[in-house]
């Protein structure tokens, strides 16, 4: 079959440009980044890493970033699942609801931060509403109120990025044949039993992909916090920005970026191993 053999080079030819571009724009900077973080003017050094570790903002940034992932990701999965299941009940105006629920999908984290800034600012819409109700306002974004600052970032991120999980889950739900669910209903299974034993297991592949994507993206949260709190709520990527743009030290910035990379890769590998039986190669 000469035609079959001729096909292999064709495929390679077609994917070659993408391999070249991705290698050039990912592998190369990765190597440069490692060398930026670990070598100074006089050869190899760990001084940049030490500076990063000694920085008073570093450990709070690590803690806030980790906390954000731990709080945000489960919350938005519960939220997105609820939304998707509500849509499955075919409510009235389902199309309108869905449209509004997915708008944030296309909104950048910077824009989302600015949107919620109008709500949480000292003289913003939330305090205005509280005032109308005869309640005292609260300095939500004050550096003294770490908890409420953190919560505003969680709310803004929940608002912005749950749509992504929603779309993946809704698409997943559409791929599930209704027969099993209906059969279970005929045999008297309750809603929760059907959800737990019929729907969720079939949604697993979708949930896995969403989980990996959202965990890694949550680790990269940056502009939302920047717009809402500035540096008062340090996050790892925000610190990279700070070191690069404000403190003009690309070496330390690279070191922090590598921490983000290491954690992201650990998370990705961890999930892939945990969920190996049904891989997500696509």
């Amino acid at each position: 079959m000469p035609r079959r053999r001729a096909r292999v080079p064709a495929a390679v030819l077609l994917i070659a440009p993408s391999l070249v571009v991705m290698t050039a724009l990912f592998a190369w900077p990765l190597l440069v980044g490692v060398s930026q973080a670990f070598s100074g003017p006089d050869g190899p050094t760990t001084s940049y890493v030490e500076r990063m570790l000694d920085d008073p903002y570093f450990w709070p940034a690590v803690r806030n970033t980790a906390l954000l992932v731990v709080v945000l990701v489960p919350l938005q999965f519960a939220f997105a699942l609820t939304m998707a299941l509500l849509l499955r009940e075919r409510p009235r105006f389902a199309g309108v609801h869905f449209f509004i629920w997915v708008i944030p999908l296309a909104i950048s984290d910077l824009a989302a931060g600015l949107v919620w800034l109008s709500v949480f600012a000292d003289r913003g819409y939330l305090n205005s509403t509280l005032d109308r109700l005869g309640l005292d306002g609260y300095a939500w974004l004050s550096y003294e109120n770490t908890t409420s600052m953190f919560l505003t970032v969680v709310v803004a991120e929940l608002w912005r990025s749950t749509s992504l999980v929603l779309v993946i889950v809704v698409a997943g739900l559409q791929g599930i044949p209704k027969d099993y669910d209906e059969a279970a209903e005929v045999f008297g299974a309750s809603y929760w039993q059907r959800l737990r034993h019929v729907v969720l297991p079939q949604l697993r592949p979708s949930l896995q992909v969403a989980l990996i994507l959202r965990t890694i993206l949550a680790l990269e949260t940056f502009a939302v916090a920047q717009a809402l709190t500035g540096r008062n709520l340090p996050l790892l990527v925000g610190e990279t920005y700070e070191w690069y743009n404000v403190l003009q030290n690309p070496n330390v910035a690279s070191a922090i970026a590598l921490v983000v990379l290491a954690v992201s890769m650990l998370a990705a590998i961890g999930y892939l191993r945990l969920l190996r039986d049904r891989t997500v190669a696509r």
Binding site: L14, A94, H97, L110, A223
Partner: protein, 271 residues
């Protein structure tokens, strides 16, 4: 039983409305804020209804330094990203969809890993590299990093689209004497075009929204988000609200146009 079912329906409706309010009200508020006069933004409590709409805040924002340039740069970078991502991504997507070549699974895993790489890791070293080759602070530099970011998704989306285009028709064309490229252009491309347009819009949106890479790689050629971000700390609230609306509006248009494709895009590519 019937009463209970009706109760459930009502609960579902109420929950949907509540969520819609949570998702929609902030959009209303930022629009309201951006379309209020500076004067009414200084009032407290802020009016929750458009009592005196004004274009003052918005036009001040649009006239401030760097905003027009940022807008132009954003559009330039976005269009460049679309062209590059399609040029490189569509052939790869076609290959993934049509050929069972060796290493296809590895290639797809590679795409997933690339997508999982944080932008921040690439931006700082890329700035160094672009400085060395004299491309720092150009829209091309930002185009390249955005292309790299958009590429994995472009490949996955286009692959999903080509899977949906009938292979038989393509083979029939070749039997009737068309060469492979001709068959592609005459038979496959027209059917795939709407989906490719969706992939293009996706790449544009990604570029329009990306802020960290654009900020790190430029000084004077900032895109709009980068411009807003870097002037954030010393700009008045009115400026930030106007900037927020300017960044949100294209997103709403994007979703309105793309609604039909959203589920396909994420559904078929990711599962």
């Amino acid at each position: 039983m019937n009463a209970r079912r009706r109760g459930n329906r009502a609960a579902v409706q109420a929950a949907c409305v509540a969520i819609t309010l949570f998702m929609g009200v902030p959009l209303y508020l930022i629009t309201l804020a951006a379309l209020s006069s500076r004067d009414s933004l200084n009032r407290f409590p802020l009016p929750l209804l458009p009592t005196d709409p004004s274009t003052e805040t918005m036009s001040t924002f649009l006239r401030s330094t760097g905003v027009t340039g940022g807008f132009i740069n954003s559009v330039t970078v976005g269009l460049g990203t679309v062209v590059l991502a399609l040029l490189v991504g569509v052939p790869a997507g076609y290959a993934v969809a049509r050929y069972a070549f060796r290493g296809r699974d590895t290639y797809q895993l590679f795409l997933l890993l690339i997508r999982a790489l944080p932008i921040v890791v690439l931006s700082v070293p890329l700035a160094r590299i672009f400085l060395d080759v004299g491309m720092y602070d150009t829209t091309y530099a930002v185009m390249l990093i955005h292309t790299a970011l958009a590429l994995p998704t472009t490949v996955l989306i286009t692959a999903a689209i080509f899977v949906g285009v009938s292979r038989e028709q393509e083979e029939a064309a070749m039997i009737f004497g068309a060469s492979a490229p001709q068959a592609f252009l005459r038979v496959v491309a027209p059917q795939a075009l709407p989906g490719i347009a969706a992939a293009a819009m996706f790449a544009f949106m990604l570029s329009w929204n990306e802020v960290l890479g654009a900020t790190v790689l430029t000084l004077n050629q900032r895109t709009l988000p980068a411009q807003v971000l870097t002037t954030l700390s010393d700009s008045p609230l009115a400026y930030r609200f106007a900037g927020g609306l300017a960044l949100v509006l294209p997103a709403v248009v994007f979703i309105a146009v793309m609604r039909r494709y959203l589920l396909n895009m994420w559904g078929t590519t990711l599962r």
